[in-house]
């Protein structure tokens, strides 16, 4: 069975600095998708970024980028120029290609310090 591990329950970053959130996963599959979701205090979970496993190029969305290391089964999220609005719980998620289900990590709470 696939698992997703987020080893950092909580992290802090100064405003305008860069922070990296870690995620590792375990799978025997070769075709899958990885996601980062953000859950602000308002609770609405929103998609931040996604990566297809067959793509070697790391996904980027504005200030958010990933470091996808397929062999190491690592999928970290880098947030550049951190803003107060980035404060939230961040969840890493895995989706096997032929299924509809996602497997989520336990989350990392990010605090942004002014």
């Amino acid at each position: 069975a696939q698992t997703v591990t987020q080893s950092q329950p909580e992290m802090s970053v100064q405003e305008a600095e860069t922070v990296t959130l870690s995620c590792t996963y375990d799978t025997s599959e070769s075709d899958y998708y990885l996601f980062w979701y953000k859950q602000p205090p308002s609770r609405q979970m929103i998609l931040v970024i996604r990566q297809e496993a067959y793509k070697q190029q790391n996904a980027t969305e504005n200030r958010f980028s990933v470091n996808f290391q397929k062999a190491a089964k690592s999928f970290s999220l880098k947030i550049s120029d951190s803003q107060l609005g980035d404060a939230a719980m961040y969840f890493c998620a895995y989706r096997s290609s032929p299924t509809y289900k996602y497997i989520f990590g336990t989350g990392t709470r990010l605090k942004v310090l002014a």
Partner: protein, 113 residues
């Protein structure tokens, strides 16, 4: 703007009550999901549905059932609420095909007393 709407933001119920949590999406998504979210445990899948009247058990289905009579509506039912079902419940939907991620509802904080 596409939406997944959960009928209640906060709910307090008594032990033994039958509880209905409703979720409606307006995106014509085939797949719908119910998760519960607990601190330190992340999101755990309770049930999901990939079509009307279809349902499949997730990782923690015990004590729950679901109903999907219409494509846009997916209901989670707690047959006899217990205190260990106090949690945040999140509904999500997605297209059957493609890379699209989930669209989540705002969540229902259920407290069973």
């Amino acid at each position: 703007d596409v939406k997944v709407t959960q009928s209640s933001r906060y709910l307090v119920k008594r032990t033994g009550e039958k509880v209905f949590l409703e979720c409606v999406q307006d995106m014509d998504h085939e797949n719908m999901f119910w998760y519960r979210q607990d601190p330190g445990l992340g999101l755990r899948l309770i049930y999901f549905s990939y079509d009307v009247k279809m349902k499949e058990k997730g990782d923690i289905p015990e004590g729950y059932s679901v109903s999907r009579e219409k494509k846009e509506r997916f209901s989670l039912i707690l047959e006899s609420a217990s205190t260990n079902q106090t949690s945040m419940y999140l509904c999500a939907s997605s297209l059957r095909q493609g890379l699209g991620g989930y669209t989540f509802g705002s969540g229902t904080r259920l407290t069973v007393v």
